[in-house]
Symmetry: C2
Subunit: 337 residues, 2 copies
């Protein structure tokens, strides 16, 4: 165990793209757990689109990170000191923590990763801890897709989107994925079995969407908001469902964001639009984890991870989410386990 | 029975406000019912915000009225000739018809008004045929309001909104109504029992809404869209529900309408936004009619109607809906029954 601790602290709220002065990496002392807490060492730090929300003071689903506080993140680590019956030394925990080598956990923030069988910790954390349940509940609970329905997914080569599309295929749907590079489009059609992919950066979205969805859209799984949401709204079928998982297109916006111009389709086509945050489903995680890990074992769900080594690279790496540079689940690896 | 028939025909699509050259009133011959149809004489013509949608070629939930076709409307009439076992001469029917003294009905378009007990036909048609079921299902089915929750209703002195607020009071909710004149605000609080009224034309909406809803908004029943929707989105509570019944603020828009700026609240607060058209619930009308007529008989639901005599006044009168001039359910009376 090292003598010093590295912690990323939020120094200012980002305006537009995340800049280098938004966070600073500090060397500090390692904290001591109080009664009921543990100290754990970071193994993996998940980088997620929602990080940009937490940095900002926009309306959000948790309090934003306060200026000068440690940056919040989804973490996986190994318990090295425990003052709680919930943890033993050597336990692997995951949950909400901070961007730091050493940090305090309590049952309100981190839990045992649990029985992951022969799955490597990095895969269990990367896919099963958050992303898999988000795809599972966000698609199945909110939109209840039926066989032969058309499901459109944005950020389709992203961590959540790629799993959403594969679950929709398992359910017998026609699946159209929207992504931002030809490489991503090929990956989701050739490797993951999506029926059609649309490159929103090179194709005319409204036309491509119309061609890809000759029978209209029954379900749209929204990771991005903005123009892509608007284009999808235009083609929604009667009683269509939209699951709102993310609105990444607007997180870095400087000007006020205007809403979808085709909002009136909610009325005309009697749509249901529903937002969710994966934390709401925490009590039902075992159901999702069991299903997704079974599908992974059967080869019906494939994942890819974009792993960058070194906590010192976290700030530079998180930016990739907003440029679409990452390929699959983006993570920082501090120390394999 | 007169020898000639008066029919309003759509001559052009309105641009902005409805102008006098959008419809023309023609004298034509009275049609003959074919096998399976009836001929009925118009008693009452309901004027509804959706009329403006049908005149336009915007995306909508039914085909728009074709240029030179008779204007579509919700009608109540008396059968004067029947070639269908579904109707006898003298039956009172209601449903979707046209703006004309005499017209053809079939079981796909009009049905018997049914057993209305001692309720006058004009009240049964005005309140129970469409408006009551819209308020009933749009509030209860879509938002499932619970006692002590805060329910906000826009166009709260309108035909649907005034009933929505009263049903919410029956369910034990705190009810805030938004209307456009002090007279309307007084009517909904003093006569109908709403807890608070906001005059959106004279008050600062965001501030007034914040004051009126100190515990946030659990349910918003949206009749208007636009800035009022945006202001409500801003104050929605976790797991709030929005029932989209109408978007009257944008029906007369000439420029492209921008969507709600606070759309991201759907994600942050995990809202459910759902649109409906009352025709979707036609199979369940008896449930709503039974409930609403019982509440009316008990004095728990009060209604007011804004009745204008003469089919020739239909065009001038329908404009009142978009200026907010009407007080309660707007109807044209051609011939009492």
């Amino acid at each position: 165990m090292s003598e010093t601790n590295r912690i990323w602290r939020l120094r200012k709220r980002p305006v537009g793209d995340i800049s280098d002065d938004v966070l600073s990496l500090e060397e500090e002392t390692i904290p001591e757990p109080a009664e009921g807490e543990c100290l754990f060492q970071l193994n993996y730090l998940s980088l997620d689109p929602t990080n940009r929300i937490w940095m900002s003071d926009m309306d959000q689903y948790m309090p934003p990170v306060a200026i000068d506080d440690p940056m919040r993140g989804v973490v996986c680590g190994t318990v090295i000191k425990s003052r709680s019956p919930a943890y033993n030394e050597g336990d692997i925990v995951s949950g909400i923590g901070i961007w730091a080598d050493y940090q305090i956990g309590s049952p309100e923030t981190v839990n045992l990763l649990g029985d992951i069988g022969s799955v490597p910790v990095i895969d269990a954390f990367g896919t099963l801890a958050v992303i898999g349940p988000a795809a599972y509940f966000g698609l199945l609970d909110i939109t209840d897709p039926q066989a032969d329905e058309t499901v459109v997914v944005s950020a389709a080569a992203g961590a959540v989107g790629s799993i959403v599309g594969q679950i929709a295929k398992i359910k017998g749907c026609r699946v159209v994925g929207i992504a931002g590079t030809d490489e991503k489009c090929q990956w989701i059609t050739k490797e993951l079995g999506f029926d059609v992919a649309i490159n929103y950066k090179t194709e005319n979205m409204p036309e491509a969407l119309k061609r890809a969805c000759p029978d209209g859209i029954d379900v749209y799984f929204d990771n991005v908001g903005g123009d892509i949401l608007d284009a999808c709204l235009k083609h929604m079928n009667l009683n269509g469902r939209i699951s709102t998982c993310g609105l990444i297109s607007q997180y870095n916006a400087i000007e006020e964001v205007s809403g979808p111009k085709n909002y009136s389709m909610i009325l005309m086509q009697r749509l249901k639009v529903q937002g969710f945050i994966i934390g709401d489903y925490v009590d039902r995680y075992p159901e999702a984890i069991a299903a997704v890990s079974k599908w992974m074992a059967e080869g019906k769900i494939k994942v890819r991870q974009d792993v960058v080594d070194g906590l010192e690279n976290a700030l530079e790496t998180v930016k990739k989410l907003y440029t679409g540079e990452n390929k699959g689940k983006l993570m920082i690896r501090v120390k394999d386990v």
